[in-house]
Subunit: 338 residues, 4 copies
């Protein structure tokens, strides 16, 4: 950590700061510049609060050299983390597809979709039981009953299931859920993250609407710091000034997160654009960019879906897309070997 | 609600859509344009799901005429809502100042600050017990003990208290809290909003980092739809590309929210900029723009604050700012009377 | 165009508006809703100023049904535009790579790079002569001399050249340039666009830092309305809150622009991320998403480049990338045929 | 400037970098941290290209200590710059109002408005002759004739005039214009800025849609570096995800730019929100925040304005607003004296 002092800081002031930092366990190197004195703190600065140091008298600015996340950091864990969910693996160059309806609507619907996406090659089933909706007047999901129906579909098809938790109080309903999803709006629901850190379930953590890579990794860190290292990062589009698409898919998040972290990175092309016709090109671009998986909305009858029908693929369209994904993944592997 | 059909929709297709809408209780007016047929739906369209209608065959686009929020809408409630918290009132042209430290750190600290801000003219005391922090390694607040100390300060000074809830499970600790704050990161924690709708406490609802006015009002609608009409809206800066300030205060939110809604609107200048030296100019601009109140961070020793010291005012600086706020409020009232 | 009147507009007011619109040549359909009267204007509304209509008494809101761009609109020109530049073609499913240094630095440099990128498979040579730099103290390009050196490289290799114009006064220097680039910062330099509309040169038009698809297409429309239909659209990343990458590549722009317009769409992965290590994954994702080409920065010695060295590939790295692009393009074609 | 080396940089590599920096005239201090070696460069680093240094082998990151702008920097010019335009002064705590129509439409119109705004207290007259319009089909301004009419209005009223230049080729028409405006879309039209640096006219430089304070100041630096120190900075709203207002007024720009620079800062409330009803609250908030002036659109008949009528005030509304501005300015001065 580098501490830049204000211009003309007096010798005594500098010495007092240096003593201060030494007293809490850091080595300090002093550089005297033409206008500013700069202190380099040596030691474990990860737990220092950068804002508090900025407040100290004579301090002009503070710059971190090391990232503030540790467990999620590739520097301390160079190998890719690979997460196993029953027969599925996510990470380490996988292309694992999670598919299913936005929300669970009936036993017939979820089983129909589950069988279909399994036949097409999906390895996990997604489906919303608890639905975060902007309007209190919109369909809020089947809730407990939705979880029960997902478990039926799991029993029927053998596909492990992924579904979203919206509040801590729902946690006990997730005992037989295979992967717990934390939605974009809850990415910084820190109480929830802490409790998920006490489980041993894989957590699919979606990036918030306006959160940076570092903030996403700090939220992963919350889960990991409490003991659960099974975190799957998910890019699902961020909010920008462009309104033609629902969100703006930040495809650079794939290589960026893989540089910064060892955790698997998947992409949600359905929420990214919000329109079914964008799902194929965005899925293929994510495969090409090196994503470890995709989470895709598929519905047996999108026009009648209780939510997000606009962005859901039909089952035949998903089947075609899976064929394209396979072609593209092969090309991506071939590229990687060059 | 206006439903725009695709070019060249056949007569039969149009008729079938019209029948469909009539069967669910709407009157439909048909306009035949040069390229598109347009349907006007007449009736209570507030509960229709715009995305679902977009999915219907032959539908090209759907545009809402009415806002999707009702309880929070000024159209149906022209008078300003005024919220009373003990002796304080918020709304209807008030300039009510809420002040206190970012986080409660000790009994001595909170009582010192409480007495001081009361003497300067603050009408409510703020203080964080549960702290949402980006890093799991940062100070997370005194939690239960923090609430207890706030209640001590309330007993000592008579100031009603405002503090943030981070999770539903904390709710019973808030029995004697006067105003419950929902932070920016929880603005779309819908399960929390619903439960707060079942209380009768005033809720201070902060705008999310990247949420629109309409989304903020839809979150207020969640609380109001479940029975609690005491919602105070708070603009605290949004996230943009500018990094010099911590967030970008959207001062237009004040007149915009007051046009759209009857709820009180306050401004948080401390979080908006993230630097103490911006608190005075931003506070004064909020007064001039017509805000009903301000929530300001004040600390007895900002350089040693356990969080957000950079943006906290000292007690003497807050005292001076209150004098300025009073001058400015008087000018704003004089302007209003022209 | 749909004109929504204020609640309770009197019959006479409605009639007066209708007469008004009829007098300027529109047919008008009236829909009487439960709260609002809505007028549908039928005729060529492309030249109506939406803001002016919003100003009319009793008008509450105005919504366009048709896009405001015509020449660039795929609706009126369903086939892909294919632009020929000597032996190269851009558009219609091509994967044409433009490569070269950020700025032309010397005859040796530009010829070395030109020969190398040609050997690797690039079809056009890029190189900056006039350089838009944030700082007046940074290298501003070799200017006239830079153009001369590019023409030398063209003579040597036969590659057509692409270079950026920064001001109308430079136009005569571009006589022998094959493709004129308009940079992101000049996307709405309307005087420049108009004059380029009077040339017959292909124009490579980069999307501005914070411009929507529609604004990009309106800028293309400026060029096309004045007679030049040879416009190549270029996505190069937009500005968001994320600062890890220099810009945020909006990969959805590729399918979106191809839906909205018949013009070719290429991607600039070098400026999008600003770091060499992102160029390969972003290039491949653009190929997978269906881009018609790429424009990539390549330098014989990136560490000594006079600008943007951080985002330039070495010549060997570009050679490897071209092999990957070819593999990926083959996969994309195979996917398309499904 | 601080240069952070990669982990485990070899002693020889470090020495070679140090020699390299010394050879180009810098003193270098070396700090050996636990994981990284850090070099502090001492000397005039303002002209170093930060990106080029990042490219050097073994360099991990580079951080600037000093701002890259000099002429515009308050550190080297602590007193406020005050710009005189005939009898008007802008800067140093002034509240100078520039008013007039978005575009000049006729002699009668511009003279009517000019006389009216002068009577209400405006000190300069604005009016667009060259109009940057998103659509090539929209009114583009009266151009040369518009300038002529502005000069008539100046002769009639004595008010100095402010009007926008869109291209260098128009410069000779601006001989008798008092203040040349550079619009948001041209903020980084560097060729234009350079030439304006060779004039001695005050330049009103508007912040771009998505440009940072530092970029605005670097554009001012372009003008100043070429000899013209008369630059007026103008905040006019930035582009965000919020679409209710046309742009998002960044009120913090006022105190921020005044901390960073000695140049006058004015605010454009008309373009910021794009709606007439927001002009008064935003104007008052700008006064309260300490702006040196305002530029406000006023029209004799907003409903018939050829552009931007929605955001134009009527002449009586402007007259009332001026009274409010005077009240608010008095309050702001009183606050400042505390």
């Amino acid at each position: 950590m580098i501490v830049i002092l204000k211009e003309n800081a007096a010798v005594q002031a500098v010495q007092s700061l240096v003593d201060n930092f030494k007293s809490i366990g850091f080595d300090v190197h002093i550089s005297q510049g033409s206008t500013h004195t700069i202190l380099g703190l040596i030691g474990d600065t990860g737990k220092l609060d950068i804002d508090q140091i900025k407040m100290l008298e004579w301090v002009d600015d503070v710059k971190r050299i090391q990232e503030p996340f540790k467990n999620a950091n590739r520097k301390f864990h160079p190998q890719d983390t690979v997460i196993k969910v029953k027969d599925a693996v996510i990470g380490g160059g996988s292309m694992t597809v999670i598919a299913g309806p936005c929300s669970v609507e009936s036993e017939e619907q979820i089983i129909t979709v589950a069988r279909s996406v399994k036949a097409s090659g999906a390895k996990l089933l997604r489906g919303g039981a608890f639905k975060p909706r902007t309007s209190p007047y919109a369909f809020q999901g089947l809730r407990d009953e939705g979880i029960r129906l997902l478990l039926e579909a799991k029993k029927d098809t053998g596909l492990p299931i992924v579904t979203e938790i919206m509040d801590l109080s729902q946690l006990e309903l997730f005992n037989d859920v295979d992967v717990i999803q934390v939605g974009a709006r809850n990415m910084q629901n820190f109480e929830l993250l802490k409790q998920l850190g006490h489980t041993n379930k894989p957590i699919l953590l979606k990036r918030g609407l306006a959160n940076t890579y570092q903030e996403l990794l700090m939220s992963a860190e919350y889960i990991m710091a409490f003991g659960n290292e099974n975190v799957i990062l998910c890019e699902r589009g961020v909010r920008t000034f462009e309104t033609y698409t629902r969100n703006t898919l930040d495809i650079s998040a794939v290589p960026a997160l893989k540089i910064l972290s060892h955790l698997p990175v998947i992409v949600d092309p359905s929420h990214a654009a919000g329109m079914a016709k964008f799902v194929a090109p965005l899925s293929l671009s994510a495969v090409a960019a090196g994503a470890d998986g995709l989470i895709i909305e598929v519905h047996n009858n999108p026009a009648c879906a209780k939510c997000d029908g606009m962005q859901s693929l039909t089952m035949p369209d998903f089947d075609t897309l899976m064929k394209k994904i396979n072609i593209m993944k092969e090309a991506q592997v071939a590229c990687n070997s060059l």
